[in-house]
């Protein structure tokens, strides 16, 4: 079996060699160097004299290598990764879209990359101006009134947003007790509510996978602080009764929080601020093309309505009014820390500025027409895949799809093949798997989000791969259940990894294979 798989072209895949590479520590030899410091232009200081008993006497076992070995080490490691640059990455909810290279280039421009956060504001106007422009763009895109760029990632944005909710309720005399969260929500939502001191109350989805208005009306009470809603939902479905949802909440004094993970389905077409959302976060690493980088850095700005503005984290960017006597039109930008109602600071300094630069470069590259076309293409691609696969894969919810489509493995499970197996088999066809077993309300979910970045050719290859796998499930289910067959490692023993964790290399460890 292995013989035939290895030799023939399968979808996008032809076998090629990847090189083995040991841990960097195992390549180390004393005396090798990859650095050269310039000669000191000041007298040297003896650490023993200067530091006494707080001096380090035992060096850390860091590796010693030459520069070419380091280049080869990390380059070889890189070839073991799949990436958007290699092909479609249909991870639903994660929005793996193209990361434009001009973003990387401009984020490294000297005056921006080397700016110290405490430099005088007079020397930081360039950075502050682009932060201000990004804020304006995000407010226009979301239809909200105020924004903070400080949160470091989506979950951190959720935390900030729920802090705003709580601070506002407290200012009304009652923090309230619970946050409602649909059973289709991201895991970060309940975890966030708990951190902010709220009880989490689960909200069951209706038969269409959306919010059940009757259940919501019954559950919202004077103890409800907010509903955390993802819209479009994690099923890729727009909550078309969103205004009623907002009305039900607002009638009881509760707020509507929107998880903006799926904002890429809405940009330029509809604005959360117009349909009743009080506060939301954005993931710049999803909608606005900043790279995921193997798991970060992200950035999670929070936008809110005016009544929540006084509670935003400090500092807040403000423009001083221009001095008319001197004929200046606009005053300079500065950070305002004097915000007595603020929920406080959620991180040091001002946020992930490097990500703001990239996101703004993306918005400028698109303009209003490009942003709208991007959204339309993302939705077009998802619906194309849905149409091309719905005869072979079960579609548990027939509601119209926006930017992603969720199938279930019901038909394949009859043959003993699960969504996780199909996902692994997809690797053999040259694709990254879709999101597996999420959202939780779909048993055996296959959550597919192509994004706008895929051409018809790549989409057709993906469809072909999925159809071929469906056929394999019928003909030779074992082939799918034991996939992947083409990767440099086969399925890894996760149980062993968790039972006896080895989380670091140690000197004198067993030599590698």
């Amino acid at each position: 079996m292995a013989e035939t798989i290895e030799r023939k072209t399968l979808g996008k895949i032809r076998p090629h060699q990847t090189q083995n590479e040991r841990l960097v520590f195992e390549k180390s030899a004393p005396g090798k160097r990859a650095y050269k410091l310039p000669p000191l232009d000041v007298p040297s200081v003896d650490p023993a004299t200067a530091l006494g008993n707080v001096r380090r006497t035992q060096p850390a076992e860091l590796p010693e290598l030459s520069e070419i070995e380091i280049i080869r080490h990390f380059t070889r490691l890189s070839t073991w990764n799949y990436a958007i640059d290699l092909g479609m990455y249909p991870l639903g909810s994660c929005t793996m879209k193209y990361n434009p290279r001009v973003n990387e280039f401009v984020s490294r421009i000297e005056g921006l990359a080397e700016a110290h956060p405490y430099r005088p504001e007079s020397l930081a106007q360039g950075a502050l101006e682009l932060l201000e422009l990004l804020q304006k763009c995000l407010l226009e895109i979301t239809g909200m009134d105020a924004v903070t760029l400080q949160p470091a990632a989506g979950a951190h944005g959720e935390f900030t947003g729920i802090l705003l909710v709580r601070a506002w309720h407290e200012s009304q005399g009652n923090a309230r007790k619970k946050v409602l969260i649909p059973d289709s929500a991201h895991g970060t939502n309940p975890a966030t509510a708990a951190i902010c001191g709220y009880q989490v109350e689960n909200l069951k989805s209706n038969p269409d996978g959306g919010i059940d208005l009757e259940a919501l009306a019954a559950q919202v009470d004077d103890d409800t602080a907010a509903l955390m809603l993802t819209n479009p939902s994690t099923l890729g479905v727009f909550e078309n009764e969103i205004h009623k949802i907002a009305d039900i909440l607002h009638a009881k004094g509760a707020l509507l929080y929107m998880d903006g993970a799926n904002m890429n389905a809405l940009v330029g077409k509809v604005r959360p601020g117009d349909f009743g959302v009080d506060v939301m976060h954005l993931n710049l690493h999803k909608t606005f093309s900043t790279p995921h980088g193997g798991g970060g850095p992200g950035s999670g700005p929070v936008a809110c309505k005016q009544f929540l503005e006084p509670f935003l984290p400090i500092p807040v960017l403000v423009r001083k009014t221009g001095n008319r006597d001197q004929g200046a039109g606009l005053g300079s930008l500065h950070w305002n820390y004097d915000r007595p109602k603020s929920v406080g600071r959620v991180r040091a300094f001002y946020g992930n500025t490097g990500m703001f630069i990239r996101a703004l470069a993306y918005i400028l590259a698109n303009g209003p027409d490009g942003l709208r076309q991007t959204t339309e293409d993302a939705v077009l691609n998802a619906n194309y895949i849905r149409k091309k696969l719905e005869d072979l894969y079960e579609l548990p919810y027939k509601t119209p799809s926006m930017h992603e489509v969720v199938f279930s493995d019901k038909k394949q499970a009859a043959k003993g093949v699960k969504t996780g197996d199909i996902a692994k088999r997809l690797i053999d066809y040259g694709f990254h798997p879709y999101t597996v077993s999420f959202p939780l309300i779909v048993h055996g979910a296959l959550m597919i989000e192509p994004t706008e970045s895929e051409s018809v050719e790549e989409l057709d290859l993906f469809v072909e791969a999925m159809r071929s796998i469906a056929e394999e499930v019928e003909q030779s289910p074992e082939l799918v259940k034991t996939a992947p067959h083409s990767t440099r490692v086969s399925r890894l023993d996760e149980v062993q990894a968790a039972r006896k964790p080895i989380l670091r290399w140690r000197p004198q460890a067993e030599p590698s294979k």
């Binding site: 990859a34 280049i71 990359a113 895109i141 970060g296 027409d369 194309y384 119209p400 080895i502």
Partner: protein, 449 residues
């Protein structure tokens, strides 16, 4: 639009395949009254050259030709060029969190190497894959200590970075967790051990200190640990300047270390993205927040790596997770890993010694200026020091700016009792000539052009 790989004809064909008349059909579910019928009011679509010009102009407006004595939690160190060459490989840059281990072994092995290096440097048993930054990492470390001990009070040194303390305050405000602050010895700038002893009780979950502390002085971690441990509290050491570990004794007596690794090859970038990380004694592993890469074997017995112990995390445990953290700082952690590989065992010590020498010279030169004196001069320090001047800092700051030098950060905004005091930093990148020039400006002696 140049990022969109479709021709108008292909779009039409796809709509036909789907069975839609127009693209609007696909958005029909959105109630008409909310649909946007106008263009967004954002700048028009720009060419790539225009975008580059826009950001270059912003960079120039920011000014680049200033020497800077700023530190205080964000440090300028030289960044070897291979860092950016390697992290811009698309396979690292445009890859997702390595949940699909078979096709993300590169990222996973790199994280495993990062965890190892951090554990080695800090003297801890294990380290995680990264946190957002040093400030949120410190807050998460306090919450972790609370879970480990089941206690509900924390004692925080006033010499922890003021912004870190603010973040801790934000994180704890809705937890049943009271914090007390402990001051510093006016002579040494080190933690007031007597006050600490009085503040720690059997209800204290954790003592949090920074080392080197915010004033740049190095704490007696062993003595602090003894006080904390005597009452069963955990000791958390926050490290804002990671390069210090090249010459400063690692906090082996600590139970948890929260570190900001920005100094390891990460650009200042006006404050972020940086790279937090939490390291700890092995017995506290299961209360650790954040992702962890672990070694295992594949079906054929080959070594491989996976994300592990994820039952601590939000995507499995939801509201019972150790933290809500999801995305962290993987690519920045990779920068740190490459930086540490470049410098290596000897280089990190040599680099730290250069910092020690530069700061030693800067402190002496500036401290010798008439009307200026060093505070906390009797305690050991790394590359930061506190200078007190007869003049108000605003006065000499302005004179320095005229000479294209940015002086130290004024401390009174956080420590009103330290009048006319400022925190200065000199790393290996600071030329002697700039230190001499700064001293002349402070002394009101003309600087030669």
């Amino acid at each position: 639009m140049r990022y969109l790989p479709k021709s108008p004809a292909e779009r039409e064909q796809m709509l036909k395949t789907i069975g839609a008349q127009s693209i609007d059909d696909l958005f029909a579910i959105i109630p008409a009254e909310y649909r946007l019928t106008r263009d967004l009011d954002v700048p028009r679509q720009m060419g790539e050259s225009e975008i580059v010009d826009y950001f270059k102009a912003a960079g120039e407006k920011n000014a680049t030709d200033y020497a800077s004595f700023l530190g205080a939690g964000a440090y300028r160190h030289y960044r070897p060029v291979i860092i950016d060459a390697l992290v811009q490989r698309g396979e690292f840059l445009t890859s997702y969190t390595p949940y699909q281990a078979e096709i993300t072994q590169g990222t996973l092995q790199a994280i495993f190497e990062f965890q190892t290096m951090i554990a080695e440097l800090t003297g801890m048993d294990v380290a995680n894959a990264s946190m957002y930054d040093g400030s949120t990492g410190a807050a998460e470390a306090v919450l972790m200590a609370m879970r480990v001990t089941g206690r509900h009070k924390a004692v925080v040194a006033r010499t922890v970075h003021p912004e870190y303390r603010e973040v801790i305050g934000t994180y704890l405000q809705h937890r049943d967790l009271a914090t007390a602050e402990v001051g510093y010895d006016a002579k040494t700038g080190r933690l007031d051990l007597k006050a600490l002893d009085a503040a720690v009780s059997e209800e204290t979950a954790a003592v949090l200190v920074q080392n080197p502390n915010f004033f740049g002085t190095i704490e007696d971690v062993a003595a602090i640990a003894a006080i904390a441990h005597k009452k069963g509290a955990l000791l958390i050491v926050s490290i804002a300047e990671a390069v210090s570990l090249g010459v400063v004794k690692p906090p082996v007596e600590a139970d948890i270390v929260s570190m900001e690794a920005q100094s390891f090859g990460v650009a200042l970038s006006y404050g972020g993205p940086f790279c937090g990380v939490i390291a700890a004694k092995e017995q506290y592993l299961r209360q650790m927040p954040g992702r962890l890469a672990g070694q295992t074997v594949d079906g054929d017995g080959n070594r491989g790596f996976v994300l592990t112990l994820s039952t601590r995390e939000q995507h499995i445990r939801r509201e019972k997770a150790t933290s809500n953290i999801c995305t962290n700082q993987a690519l920045v952690a990779l920068m740190a890993t490459i930086f540490l590989t470049v410098y290596g065992k000897e280089g990190i010590r040599e680099l730290a010694e250069h910092n020690l020498a530069k700061a030693g010279y800067a402190a002496k030169t500036l401290g010798d200026v008439a009307g200026a004196k060093l505070l906390f001069n009797s305690a050991p320090r790394f590359h930061e020091f506190v200078l007190q001047t007869d003049e108000q800092p605003a006065a000499w700051q302005k004179r320095l700016l005229d000479e294209k030098i940015v002086g130290g950060v004024e401390l009174s905004r956080w420590y009103p009792e330290l009048k006319n005091a400022s925190l200065w930093c000199a790393t290996e990148t600071m030329p002697r000539a700039k230190m001499d020039a700064a001293a002349k400006v402070l002394a009101r002696v003309a600087v030669e052009a």
